[in-house]
C-alpha cells in the first residue's frame, strides 16, 4: 500500500429483490495499486463495479473514492471527478465520431483545452484508432468500440480507474497496449481496479486478486499467490 486508499469499500451489499448479488464486500485500493476482481459468471463482479462506479445504488455499505462518498450528492460529484470507468459493454452515441466522443468527455470533465486536439489524437493513435478518427460507432467493430471506451476513460483526469472486463473483444496487440497503459497509470499513482476472466492478462499488472463467488469474497491476497496458488482455476491452469 502506498498512502491512504483511493478506493474504500465498506460492507458493500447489493440485492435484486430477494437475491443478494454482492454481500458485505470490503475492499481498499491504494494509489499505484492494481486489484483484480476475479470469479465465475454470476459471481458479482459486474455488480461490484457498477455499484462502485455509482451506476447502481448499494443495498448496504459505503463506497468512497478519494475520500468522497460515491452515492450521495454533492460528494458524489467529487468522487466522480476522481474516477474513470470502462463499462463491460460499450454504450456510445451513434451520431458522434470517435474524436467527438473524446471531445465530449473532455468538455464534461473540464479537461484543459490546451493542445486538447493533439492529446485526443495521441490517445486515438495509441489505441490504434487513427484510421477511425471520424468514424461513427456503427462503423466500428466490437473491439474498436471497446478501445474507444478505454480512450474515453483515459483522456479524462482520474485517480482511480475502474475497468469491467476491459479485454473482451480486444486482439492480442491491443491487449498488450492496454497492459502498457495500465502499468503507466499505476506508475503515475493511479489506483486501478479491474475485473477479468482472462487471468493471464492481469498477471504482471495486478498486485492483488480478490476472488468473488456468489457475491462473497472467498480469497483476497497477492495476485500470484491467489491465482497461481490454486485458489482459483484459470483457463491457463487447465
Amino acid at each position: 500500500m502506498q498512502g491512504a486508499p483511493l478506493l474504500a469499500v465498506q460492507g458493500l451489499t447489493r440485492r435484486y429483490g430477494g437475491f443478494e448479488a454482492l454481500h458485505d464486500l470490503e475492499l481498499e485500493v491504494a494509489p499505484g495499486e492494481c486489484v483484480a476482481i476475479v470469479g465465475q459468471n454470476g459471481s458479482g463482479k459486474t455488480t461490484a463495479v457498477r455499484t462502485i462506479a455509482g451506476l447502481l445504488e448499494p443495498s448496504g455499505g459505503r463506497v468512497e473514492v478519494a475520500g468522497a462518498a460515491v452515492h450521495t450528492e454533492p460528494s458524489g460529484i467529487e468522487a466522480r471527478a476522481a474516477m474513470a470507468v470502462v463499462p463491460d459493454s460499450p454504450a456510445l452515441y451513434p451520431d458522434l465520431t470517435v474524436h467527438e466522443h473524446l471531445e465530449l468527455v473532455a468538455l464534461a470533465h473540464d479537461v484543459a483545452r490546451d493542445d486538447l486536439d493533439a492529446r485526443i489524437d495521441a490517445m486515438i493513435s495509441r489505441l490504434g484508432l487513427s484510421d477511425k478518427r471520424d468514424a461513427r460507432p456503427g462503423e466500428l467493430s466490437r473491439g474498436m468500440r471497446q478501445k474507444l471506451q478505454i480512450a474515453c476513460a483515459l483522456i479524462r483526469p482520474h485517480r482511480l480507474l475502474v475497468l469491467d472486463e476491459p479485454v473482451v473483444g480486444l486482439d492480442p496487440a491491443s491487449q498488450q497496449t492496454l497492459r502498457e497503459l495500465l502499468v503507466e497509470a499505476k506508475r503515475a499513482g493511479v489506483a486501478v481496479m479491474l475485473t477479468t476472466h482472462q487471468l493471464e492478462f492481469a498477471r504482471g499488472i495486478a498486485d492483488r486478486a480478490v476472488v468473488l463467488a456468489d457475491g462473497l469474497v472467498v480469497a483476497d491476497g497477492p495476485y500470484d499467490e491467489v491465482v497461481g496458488g490454486g485458489m482459483i482455476e484459470g483457463p491457463e491452469s487447465r
Binding site: Y16, G17, G18, F19, A53, G54, L55, L56, E57, H71, E73, P74, I77, E78, R80, A81, M83, V85, P87, A91, L92, Y93, D95, L96, E100, H101, E103, L104, V105, L107, A108, H109, D110, C152
Partner: protein
C-alpha cells in the same frame, strides 16, 4: 462543494448539452414527407373523430363529460403514475448515462431541462385536448363562452402538468414506485366502480369533489363553482411541479440506466416484432419482489408434476391470478347483463381469452426455453401443453362459476343463469384456455418468411389486411367466434324470452365440438425450435 464550483458545473452541463445538440443528426423532412404526413394525419384525424363521436353517441355533452371525463382523466393519471414505475418523463440513453451522469456534474443539472421539456409537452397536449373537447362540446367555443373556454384550457393544462410531475415523483422514488405498483390494481377497480357510480347519477356536484380528475373537467362541463375547481387544480399542479423540481437531484444513475436498458430492449423487440421479448423486457424493468416464496407440497404422482409447477408459479405471482380474476369476472358479468347482444358477447369472449392468457404463463416459459422442459420432463410436447391447461381451466371455471352465483345473488341476472355452471360453462372455459395455449405455442415472435410474404401483399387489397389480422391473432379470433357465438345463442333465447334449453344444447354442442377440434390440434403440436 463551493458555490463557484456549482455554477461552473452548471455551465459545463449547459456546454455539454449544447455540444450534443450541435452534433446530433437533425431530421429535416422533405416537402413530400410534410405533405404525406398532413394528408395521412388528416384522414386519421377524421376517422378518429368519427370513432370518438360514435363511441360517445353523437356530440359531446356536458352530461357525458361528467359521466366519462373524470374517469378518463383518473385513468390517465393512473397510467402516468404507472409509467413512472418503469419509464417516466425523464429519460436518458445508455450513452448519456455512461458519458454524462458519470461526469463530475450534478445529475440534477441534466435532469432539470428534461423535466422542464416534459412539463411543457404535457402542457401543450393538455391545451390541445381541451381545444378538441371545446370544439366537440355542442358546436365550439361560442357555446361554451370565452371565460369558460379559457378555464377549460387552464384546467386541462394544469391536469397534464400535474400528471407529468406526479409521474416524475414516482420515477425518482423507489418507494413511490413500489407503492404505485402495489396499489394500482385496486385503484383500477376503484376507477371502474367510479365509472359505474357516475353513470347512474346526475353528476352535477360529482366533478368538483372528486379530485384533480374532476376539477379539470368542471369548467368544460360547466358545473357550478368551476372557477373554484380551476383554482384547486392550479394549486395541485403548482405544488406538484415545485415538488418535482425539488427532486431533480433525487434519482441516481441507476434509475436512468435501468430505463435506458429497458427502452433498448423494447426497441429491439419491436424491431423484430417479438412481442414476447417485449413483455419479458417490460417485466424485467419492474422492481423485483421481496419476501418469502410460496411453497406447495410436492405430489407423489409424476403426472401431477406440471399441475404442481403451475400452482407454484401462480402462488408466487398472485398478480396473474388477480388480473385473470378481474378479466374473467368482467367477462361473466358482461355476458350475463347484456344477453343476446353481439358486442358484449364478443367483449366477454375476448376478456375470457385474456384471463386464460394470464394463467398460461408457465407454458410460455416452457416455450421460451423448450430445452429446459425437454430435459426436466421427458414428455412429448403435446402432453406438456395439455397438462399446462389443467390449472388455468380449473381456476377460470371456479372464478366464472363464483361470478355467476354472485351476479344472480345480486339480482343482476335471473336464477336460470345458474344452470350454465353444470352445462356450457366448462366447455366454454376450456375453449378459451386451449386457444390461449395454442397461441402461446407460437412463441410471440414473427416468422421472418411469413412476415416477408405479408409485407409483399398489395396494401390496396383489403384481403391482405385480413390475412395479416388472421395471422396475428388467429386464436383470439377463434375464441371470439366460438365463445362469443355460444354466449350469443343462449343470450338471444334469454333476451327474446324463448326456451333456453334448446339454445343451451346448441351452445353446448358448439363448444364441445370446438373443444374436440382444439384438443386434437393441441395433441398434434410439437416442441418449438429455438
Amino acid at each position: 462543494m463551493s458555490d463557484a464550483a456549482r455554477v461552473d458545473a452548471r455551465d459545463r452541463a449547459r456546454t455539454v448539452r449544447g455540444f450534443l445538440r450541435a452534433r446530433r443528426t437533425r431530421f429535416r423532412p422533405t416537402a413530400y414527407q410534410v405533405y404525406a404526413t398532413l394528408v395521412v394525419g388528416g384522414i386519421a384525424g377524421a376517422l378518429a373523430g368519427n370513432a370518438v363521436s360514435e363511441a360517445i353517441g353523437g356530440s359531446l355533452t356536458a352530461h357525458k363529460l361528467l359521466v366519462f371525463g373524470p374517469v378518463v382523466l383518473f385513468l390517465v393519471l393512473l397510467a402516468a403514475l404507472r409509467l413512472g414505475t418503469w419509464q417516466g418523463p425523464v429519460g436518458f440513453s445508455s450513452a448519456d448515462v455512461g458519458f454524462l451522469l458519470t461526469a463530475p456534474i450534478a445529475i440534477a443539472a441534466f435532469v432539470r431541462p428534461k423535466l422542464d421539456q416534459s412539463l411543457l409537452i404535457g402542457a401543450v397536449v393538455g391545451a390541445a385536448v381541451a381545444g378538441v373537447a371545446i370544439l366537440l362540446l355542442a358546436g365550439g367555443p361560442g357555446s361554451v363562452g370565452l371565460v369558460r373556454a379559457l378555464g377549460a384550457v387552464v384546467g386541462m393544462v394544469a391536469f397534464a402538468v400535474l400528471s407529468v410531475a406526479a409521474s416524475w415523483l414516482v420515477e425518482s422514488s423507489r418507494r413511490a414506485s413500489g407503492l404505485v405498483r402495489r396499489a394500482s390494481p385496486g385503484v383500477l377497480v376503484a376507477g371502474a366502480a367510479l365509472l359505474a357510480i357516475s353513470a347512474t347519477t346526475s353528476g352535477r356536484a360529482f366533478a368538483v369533489w372528486s379530485g384533480p380528475w374532476g376539477w379539470a373537467v368542471a369548467p368544460l362541463a360547466g358545473t357550478s363553482g368551476w372557477p373554484v375547481a380551476v383554482a384547486l387544480i392550479l394549486v395541485a399542479a403548482g405544488a406538484s411541479s415545485i415538488l418535482a423540481v425539488r427532486r431533480t437531484g433525487a434519482a441516481g444513475a441507476e434509475v436512468f440506466l435501468a430505463r435506458a436498458e429497458t427502452r433498448s430492449g423494447l426497441a429491439a423487440s419491436a424491431f423484430s416484432l417479438d412481442y414476447r421479448g417485449a413483455t419479458l423486457t417490460y417485466r424485467s424493468a419492474l422492481p423485483a419482489r421481496m419476501g418469502r416464496e410460496a411453497r406447495v407440497p410436492r405430489p407423489r404422482a409424476p403426472r401431477l408434476a406440471v399441475l404442481w409447477r403451475d400452482a407454484l408459479g401462480l402462488l408466487r405471482e398472485l398478480s396473474r391470478l388477480g388480473w385473470a380474476t378481474l378479466f374473467a369476472s368482467a367477462a361473466t358479468v358482461e355476458a350475463l347483463t347484456h344477453p343476446g347482444r353481439v358486442i358484449p358477447a364478443g367483449v366477454a369472449a375476448v376478456a375470457l381469452y385474456f384471463a386464460a392468457s394470464f394463467l398460461s404463463e408457465p407454458l410460455r416459459i416452457d416455450i421460451d426455453a423448450p430445452d429446459t422442459s425437454a430435459l426436466l420432463l421427458s414428455w412429448p410436447f403435446a402432453r406438456l401443453l395439455l397438462a399446462h391447461c389443467a390449472l388455468p381451466a380449473l381456476a377460470l371455471f371456479a372464478v366464472t362459476a363464483t361470478t355467476i352465483v354472485a351476479t344472480v345473488a345480486a339480482g343482476a341476472a335471473g336464477a336460470g343463469a345458474l344452470a350454465l355452471i353444470p352445462t356450457v360453462l366448462a366447455p366454454i372455459v376450456i375453449v378459451a384456455v386451449l386457444c390461449a395455449a395454442l397461441s402461446a405455442r407460437r412463441g410471440g415472435r414473427v416468422d421472418e418468411k411469413l412476415l416477408g410474404r405479408l409485407l409483399s401483399l398489395d396494401p390496396n387489397n383489403p384481403g391482405g389486411a385480413a390475412v395479416l389480422v388472421l395471422w396475428l391473432i388467429p386464436w383470439l379470433l377463434a375464441t371470439t367466434i366460438i365463445v362469443g357465438g355460444a354466449l350469443l345463442v343462449i343470450g338471444s333465447a334469454v333476451a327474446h324470452h324463448r326456451a333456453v334449453a334448446p339454445a343451451a344444447v346448441v351452445a353446448f354442442a358448439l363448444a364441445c365440438t370446438a373443444c374436440a377440434v382444439l384438443a386434437r390440434l393441441a395433441r398434434g403440436s410439437t416442441r418449438p425450435d429455438r
